[in-house]
Structures are given as C-alpha cells and as structure tokens.
Symmetry: C2
C-alpha cells in the first residue's frame, strides 16, 4: 500500500463576499458573472501580485472552510442522483479544495476586486493562477452526467444538501 505524507498549506489571502452561509450561493462562477467580491491578499505575499493586472481571468484555489463532511458519493446540486464525488464539483470532497475562475476588475494594493463569485465570506485562498486560454481551454462534448444539465446552471444556487 502506498504511503503518502500529508501536506500543509498556508492561506495567502481571504475572500470578502456577500455570501455568509453555505445556502443560496451560486454553484459555479460561470453561473454568477455579475456577483462582485474581493480577495484580500496577506501583506506578506504582496510581491507575488506583480504583473497580475495584465490578466482578465484568474483561477483561485481555495479551502472550502465551511464544509464539514467529506463524502465519496454525493448528489450534486445540478442532479437528483448520486455520483462519485470526483465526477462532480461538489464541495464535500476530500481535501475540500475549491476552484473558482473569476474576472479581475482591479487591484488596489493587496485588494483584488473581481466578478464571478461563488465563494463564501471568509474563504481562505491557497493559490492564484492566471487563466491562459492556451493552457486551460479544452473543447469536449464528453461531459458525463452534466450532459443535459447545462441549462440548469445559470442562476443555480446551493441548497442545504451539503454539510
């Protein structure tokens, strides 16, 4: 059996958002283009932000801190039947790492204003990466159980099924 060491991460910033609980939050940034929010980067990481203003979209990797249960099978928000959690984007996943692609509006010191927010107030951010279409775009029609659920995305909000 493979033994792997645990990994310790240190948040580099925190999200300030209008969403204060796990219920009623847009389930993906693509379904929430008009919701603005801020990322407050810790002063110790300020130097890492240089040249970031040149990018339109950023990828935030986050710790979904309000999730208490990690499950291997979940009924995701867009469906009524369960799937293996790695075949979903549900928050109740091992390690609870979130991926949010946001549109950068401005940077003022260590405060990043953005729109396309699906994150809860106080969410710790572990990494920021610039979104680069040549790296990050894949065209495919093979999207498993999401096929047929796409129309439900715009405006979809979380309910109380994830704890």
């Amino acid at each position: 059996m493979t033994i792997l060491a645990n990994v310790l991460s240190t948040p580099i910033g925190i999200v300030r958002s209008e969403f204060k609980s796990k219920v009623g939050v847009p389930i993906q940034t693509a379904g929430a283009p008009r919701f603005g929010a801020e990322l407050e980067v810790l002063p110790a990481y300020a130097a890492g932000l240089r040249d970031l203003e040149g990018f339109e979209y950023l990828i935030f990797l986050t710790h979904m801190h309000l999730v208490s249960e990690e499950r291997l099978q979940v009924v995701p928000f867009l469906d009524t039947v369960s799937h293996g959690v790695f075949a979903t984007r549900a928050p109740n996943r091992p390690n609870r790492i979130g991926l949010s692609i946001v549109r950068l509006l401005s940077i003022d010191g260590t405060t990043l204003r953005f729109e396309g927010n699906d994150m809860i107030d106080g969410t710790p951010v572990l990494d920021i990466k610039p979104y680069v279409p040549a790296f990050d775009i894949r065209q495919t029609e093979r999207i498993g159980w999401f096929a047929g659920k796409r129309a439900k995305l715009p405006g979809a909000r979380s309910d109380d099924r994830m704890r």
Copy 2:
C-alpha cells in the same frame, strides 16, 4: 492583520510518470498532449471514482513535491524576465499546488490512464475534478506577459531554474 489557520491535506493518489526529475518535463499539459501516464488512486477513495469514465478531461490538483523553494518573484520557463509568482504558472509558488488538465483514456479499478502529462513521478494528487466546458472555458485576449510567448509552448520543457 488577518490570521488564517493552516490547512492540512491528505493525498488521494499518486502519479506514475516517465519524468523522474524537475528538468526536462513539459511545462503544461497543453504542451504535452502525447505523453501518457497513470494516476494510482488510493483504495480508500475508490468509491469517489464512480461515473468519472464519462468525462474526457479531468483537472488534477497536485502537490508539487520536488519543489523546495517557494518564491514570490520568478522568471518563468517561457520568459527571460521576472514576474510576481501569482502572475505565472511556475512551480515555485506558495503552497506548491499544481493544476494539470489531462485527457482520460481508461479507468481500471483505481488506476487512471491519461495523456497530457506534465507531472513528475511520485507527484501526490489532492483532488480530481471533471473538466466541464460550461464551467471552465473563458475566452480572453488579456493574458498579460504570456502574449507573444504562446508560440514557445508546444514542446517547451523545464530547465534547472526552479529549485
């Protein structure tokens, strides 16, 4: 000053790859479509893989375990001048979390075969997410310092600048 707790993650699997060191590795999966490799998921997480075979592309979030130095300013592989690390995809970043979009070929038990590999042998994987174009595609020309560097991507390999 904001105080944020550290976050502990437990790897859910490990990459088996032909790349044994940090030098000579494709710098992005988009630049390495023909390199195959395997992800060995730990048996404890097997149930989380159900329905994953329906997706063509997967996002792996990884711990770039061979990186020893975390830097806030780096000269990325595709450039000759330095940038803030969050404006790059360089491995020497706080928390050393990698993002690899791979093309799934097959699943045999807990072994995932894929192509588009930019990961070193032994890389711990922290999460698997299905790639869904409706969630993950953003079209933009605003790509900061990458503009003009795109032609260097196909076949680009890492050199010894990252420790």
